[in-house]
Symmetry: C2
Subunit: 218 residues, 2 copies
């Protein structure tokens, strides 16, 4: 639990203001191993529906693969220029067996019996078996956006630039990264690294609706 | 831009570990006006697709309305116990006119002509007019999850507990909050406030898959 919330809060607000969707990265600047560890842990700790984490974080640092991905990302050069390219992929093999495995993980982590988790198991497996494949795919896809939101915020506090990308051709990204055989499929991506000194988008004023336009207070 | 990233980073990692989905809130503890301002600004600054912010944040603090919402939230008592109940609602009236308004906001914010933003306008209006209502609804819904992810992270750094809720009956929440006549529809919610001293879930170990299970490194 943070002790000096004032410092941290100011830093976060500053970071969210500093952040923008980087259009040009400096390819020579790489995220350090220690910073990456923080981002990795932030992703891992992301909250998700039932805590089921129905996704994989596919982290591409291989330069050749990053370059191959550009065409699959509507030719956005950031995929190749960035330090770490993260593809958020939803798991495609979500069944009652997934629930079994997750419940076993809970039992092990909390040192309780699987038997004692029967009501939770019933709730989750009821949800899974009661959902169409399309609904499950969308449910899993939405969870990846929580992770994306978390990642962009944490990265910004580390002065790490990022550019989220919905504009990806999922089938092509899946093929290049061989995701289908890994039981997942790409949903959205995020390029992370450091802005190029000449990215003209860096200096532009942030565009947001006013609080009056965005909030309804009841 | 944060100056002491080390302190901030540690605080964020601690906060993400400290955070859990609160099952019981202490109804006597309210989020202070100054803390709420930080959360409001964090929500406002959330990144979104094209920066279009196709949503409203509906913030319910009226106790009577919060109590009315419980039944619409699968009887989760947190809706009434919490300090601030945030409903993330996607805009339902997304048309080319929405793009016009957004482009005008960009022009005003950045002091450039609407004319100079024609290529951007074309890209966005092409996306809007080329999407089915169902696709647009899902696109807008997904954006709210970025805001949800951002909000939970920032709240945790302020020692503010939260509980995300996908388990809401959207039609009922919309009716209670009269969202349809406000041009939006509920997607997901988040109760915010302070955990009750006797919430037995607070002490449970966090359950997450290992890095090996969650990450694919390429």
């Amino acid at each position: 639990m943070p002790t000096d919330t004032k410092t941290v809060t100011n830093a976060i607000t500053d970071a969210l203001n500093w952040r923008y969707a980087a259009k040009q990265f400096d390819p020579s600047k790489k995220i350090s191993a220690s910073d990456w560890q923080v981002l990795e842990e932030a992703l891992r700790l992301t909250p998700s529906s039932f805590g089921m984490q129905p996704y994989k974080f596919v982290v591409v640092t291989d330069q050749k693969v990053k370059e191959e991905l550009v065409a699959a990302c509507w030719n956005q050069p950031q995929a190749a220029q960035c330090s770490h390219f993260v593809v958020f992929a939803r798991n495609t093999d979500i069944t009652v067996e997934t629930v079994n495995q997750y419940v076993e993980l809970i039992a092990k982590t909390r040192n309780v019996s699987v038997e004692s988790l029967k009501p939770l198991h019933g709730m989750m497996s009821g949800f899974i078996s009661g959902s169409t494949p399309e609904k499950l795919a969308e449910w899993a896809a939405r969870q990846t956006y929580i992770a994306l939101g978390n990642l962009m915020t944490v990265a910004a506090t580390l002065n790490i630039d990022n550019c989220p990308m919905e504009g990806i051709v999922a089938a092509d990204v899946d093929r290049i990264l061989k995701l289908n055989e890994k039981g997942c499929s790409s949903v959205v991506a995020c390029a992370l690294g450091y802005r190029a000194a000449d990215d003209k988008y860096a200096g532009l004023a942030k565009v947001r609706f006013s609080k009056d336009d965005l909030f309804i207070n009841i």
